[in-house]
Amino acid sequence: MKGTQTSSQSRVGAWTAMIVGSLYFLIPLIATFEFSLRMRRGTYSFDAYQVVLSDPRFQASFGYSILMALLTIVVGVLLVVPTAYWVQLRLPKLRGIVEFITLLPLVVPAIVIVFGYLRIYNSSSILPLTSNERATDLLLVFGYVTLSLPYMYRAVDAGLRAVDIRSLTEAAECLGANWPTILFKVIFPNIRSGILSGAFLTFAVVIGEFTLASLLDRPAFGPYLQLIGANRAYEPSALAIIAFAVTWASMGLIQVFGSARTLAAQKP
């Protein structure tokens, strides 16, 4: 960047950076896609996708991970929205500590968190959450809620700051609404786009998550990916493309809802 004396030089530098960057980011995607088409010898075909999509283990693990992601979103929203709302309305002095806690999952690596779970919730403890499969599913959901806390809290908190929750609450109280009504009929609809972006980000994080699912020994999509990767040649690349598409879709939906919010805000 030293040679940016004139604007044309700086533009050349900027284009170079963009082109080199695009190459680095696009080549692996192209290579993966190309590889996924090579299953049938001598010609390109979608055989690998067919094999993957018709694999009952793919369907089972993908379905399982979608279910876990949805449960994570529901539990996460029910936990985060009332807390963030309440902190902003009544306990602003707790904001610092609550934000600090929601940031902790970025500090403590997932593998450490799950290690702690395995030690605390083993079958001989007071709360034996790893003793049967349903309980372990529950522990996995709670673990995912923990991992997604930074994203969910941040998205919801930003949504809450954009609306005047105090006036909304007082207006609802004057009209005789009770707390559940205020939360579900007044607050939730007003911060819908914040909740949705938190939800899609959570979905993207949970759907291919490997560490927690693998160490809690649950049949999720992440461990399935790893298993196929260790044993097959062409299927992994097809799966990587599918996973990329899912991530892309989640992020795209955030943009869609984000821009819907901006458009709505621009209206007089």
């Binding site: 700086s10 980011f25 192209i30 602003p92 450490v112 490997f210 943009q255």
Partner: protein, 313 residues
């Protein structure tokens, strides 16, 4: 895409990089509910955090200083200093540092090009959206993608051999090695840097450059006395965040190298799976070491971020 061009960038980065340091708006509660009820409202959150975040982590931290019978000991700490574990920390450190520095450098360049490079308007929102996707595209699928690209029969390896007559693997390169892992980590580190640093670059006003030019300043002087003093806390802080980000990563490395590369997360993973378990409390010590490293670098990030925000006011 175009509709989101204004909303997308900042919002995206904000969502991905939580800030503890935004000024808290003063909202005084009406105070009609009794104090006990006020506190009950946040109880579910604190109980959840205690059960699924603080107690599990605290249990390991205490366990790191105990022997199998629960007596206090420093033996696990001493075992951490053994060659094998030190080696693992050192490789983890090298991979994380290399991918953090590389990610910070290339991420800043890309973000700079998009913000101040006078490129067409569609580039910036496209870059930020793609960064949002790529920074979340980690783990097992990312490992597959790089095996398809730079593995022994990967597209780039094959094309290089065929057209440029370069045998990548005879140069000592391997996707399963330190350099391969670093190159793979960059795929999510660079986009993360772009997302974090773009708001900071936005704060660098065009007028400053013009003022510097008018006063006869050179490009070097602009960077030395204007841009870098404003930017360095953000850049350094973001680099620390990137470091912590790759230090704790498991899935990418595991899917890429199996257990052949001796990094801390894979060592801990193997310990937990019971592959090499001789001493459970040593596992706790490994975990404690990781928390210390990621905690320190994240702490540095938060501190530098607060400096950067004070500087902007």
């Amino acid at each position: 895409m175009s509709a989101s061009s204004e909303a997308g960038p900042g919002g995206q980065a904000d969502r991905l990089v939580p800030s503890v340091l935004q000024p808290a708006p003063k909202v005084d509660g009406p105070g009609r509910a009794s104090p006990i009820w006020t506190w009950i409202g946040v109880m579910p959150f604190f109980i959840f955090a205690l059960l699924f975040l603080i107690l599990p982590t605290g249990f390991l931290m205490v366990g790191a200083f105990q022997d199998a019978q629960g007596h206090f000991t420093f033996a696990n700490m001493r075992e951490l200093l053994q060659e094998n574990t030190l080696d693992a920390y050192w490789i983890s450190f090298k991979v994380s540092a290399a991918s953090a520095l590389g990610g910070a450098l290339f991420g800043s360049l890309l973000a700079w090009a998009a913000v101040h490079g006078k490129l067409p308007g569609w580039i910036r929102p496209t870059l930020l959206t793609f960064s949002g996707v790529a920074s979340n595209f980690a783990g097992v699928p990312l490992a597959f993608a790089f095996i398809c690209t730079l593995g022994r029969v990967g597209l780039v390896t094959v094309l290089l051999k065929k057209y440029a007559d370069i045998n990548l693997y005879s140069t000592g390169f391997s996707i399963l090695s330190f350099s391969g892992l670093t190159l793979t980590y960059l795929y999510f580190q660079i986009p993360l840097m772009v997302l974090i640093i773009t708001p900071a670059l936005d704060g660098l006003k065009r007028e400053w450059r013009e003022a510097c030019d008018c006063l006869g300043g050179t490009a070097y002087q602009y960077w030395r006395y204007v841009a870098l003093p404003v930017l360095w806390p953000s850049v350094l802080g973001a680099t620390l965040l990137l470091f912590a980000n790759s230090f704790g990563a498991v899935a990418t490395a595991y899917a890429l190298t199996g257990s052949s590369l001796n990094i801390v997360t894979i060592l801990l993973y193997a310990q937990i799976r019971g592959d090499v378990l001789h001493n459970q409390n040593l596992g706790y010590a490994l975990a404690l070491g990781m928390i210390l490293v990621t905690g320190l670098s994240n702490g540095g990030y938060i501190w530098l971020r607060s400096r950067a925000e004070r500087g902007r006011r």
